[in-house]
Symmetry: C2
Subunit: 219 residues, 2 copies
Amino acid sequence: MASKRVVSIRVIRRISVYYEALLKLDLPETTYVSSKRLEEMTGLSSNQVRQDFFTLGLTIGKQKKGYMVKKLMRELKRILSIDRGAKIVVIGAGRIGQSFSAYRLFQGRNIQVEAMFDINPDLVGTTIGKPGAEIPILSIDELEPFLKGHPEVEIALLAVPEEVAQELLDRLVSYGIKGVVNYAPRILRLPREAKGVQLINESICSAIYKMVYHRNHPQ
Amino acid sequence: MASKRVVSIRVIRRISVYYEALLKLDLPETTYVSSKRLEEMTGLSSNQVRQDFFTLGLTIGKQKKGYMVKKLMRELKRILSIDRGAKIVVIGAGRIGQSFSAYRLFQGRNIQVEAMFDINPDLVGTTIGKPGAEIPILSIDELEPFLKGHPEVEIALLAVPEEVAQELLDRLVSYGIKGVVNYAPRILRLPREAKGVQLINESICSAIYKMVYHRNHPQ
DNA sequence: TAGATTGTTAATCGATTAACAATC
DNA sequence: TAGATTGTTAATCGATTAACAATC
C-alpha cells in the first residue's frame, strides 16, 4: 500500500527508462499504456513494471486499459523530481568531468551544473559548454566560499584522480555537501563526522573487469 | 567447496579492491594478512572477505595467521586475469571514450585499447595517448575489417551518443564481438541472433538521479 | 594451552519473478 | 459476458551478514 522506505537505485533507473520510453515514443496523451506495452517498449517485464509502480505507491492503473499516458508521465516526473531538479557542482574538469557538462539528459531532468572546479591553471577561469549556458571552471580554492554562498547546491560529482579523491570527499563533507557521486576508480569512505551525507561509488571500470573475467574464465 | 557458476560483478569489484589495497600498501611478500586486516584496509567486512574467497574456491588461508601476501596476490591476479589481460576497442572517441585511453588502471590490468573508432573527420586518422603508446582513431567504416583482422579483440566499450548506440551494438555483434560495455545513457538490448555475447549497460548517470531523488524525497 | 582465525554453513535481507483474485 | 489487466501477495532467487566448529 504505502511506498517503501528506501527506493533503490535500480528502481530509480527503471523509472527513468519508463519515462524516457514514453517521451521518445511521443504517444498521444490520452492513450493508455499497459504494463505489457511498457514491457515491449523497454524490455523490462510487465511484472517488474507493476511491482515498481506498486513499490512507489503509484496506483493509477485501470483494469483492462492500463495507465493513462498523461497521468503516468506526470507521476513519473514527480518521482524523478524533474520539475524540481537540482543544482550540482562537478569537481575535476578532466575528461569525465567535462563529459557531464554536455549531458543532454540533464536538461530534460532539470539538473544544472552550476560550476566545475579544478587545479589546472589552464582551465581555471575558462568556461565550458554552449554559449548561453556556459559553466565556469573555478579553482579548487574557491570551492568552500562557493558552496557557502550557494547553499542550494547540495550534490557534487567527484571526477578527480584517485589519489586526491578521498581528500576532496572529506573537504566536500566539511563544507556541508549532502550527496557525492564518486567516479574515481577507488571506493571512498565517508568521514565519521558525516551525518546525513550520501555517497555513491560509481565504478566505471568494474563492468570492464567483469567482461575480461568472463572472457578469460569461460563457462 | 567448488567455485560458483556465475561470479557477479560485485565479487569481481571487491576482488579488485583487495588487490589494489595490497598493492598500495606494499606489504612484504612474506607477511600474512588476516581477513580482519583486509577489513581495516578496505572497509569491506572480514566476513565478506572470507565469503568472497570461498565463493571463488580460494582456500589458502592458515588459521591464526591469515593469508600469505605473496600467495594471495598471485591468486587474486589469476582471478582478475591480470597476466592474460585483454585487448579491447573503444567505439566513440568523445570525452568518455577518450577518458579510457588514459586509464592508468588498464596498465596494471594488462588491458590494452587497440584502437578507437569515430565518425568525426577531425579525429579520424589522429592518435591519442602518450608517445610510445599511441592509440589510433579509425573511421567507423574500418570497424568491420579491423575486427576481422584482429580476432583476439573480443571486447568493445561503447561510448557513443545514445541515438546510435543500439545500431552500433547490433553491428558489433554481427562483426563477432563477444562482450560489450555500453556507456550510453540508454539500456540496450542484444539482437536475437547474439549467441554467447555479453552486454553490460553501465549507466553513469543513474547514481546522479538517485542522489537527486533522495535529496528531493527526504526520509 | 588459550586465543585467533579460517572455511563453511545458516540466517537474514533485499530484489525479482510468478501467480492470481479482483474487476472493469 | 468474456477477456484483459490491474494491484498485491507469495515464491524464488541471489547476495550479505552472522555464527561457529575446526584447528593452528
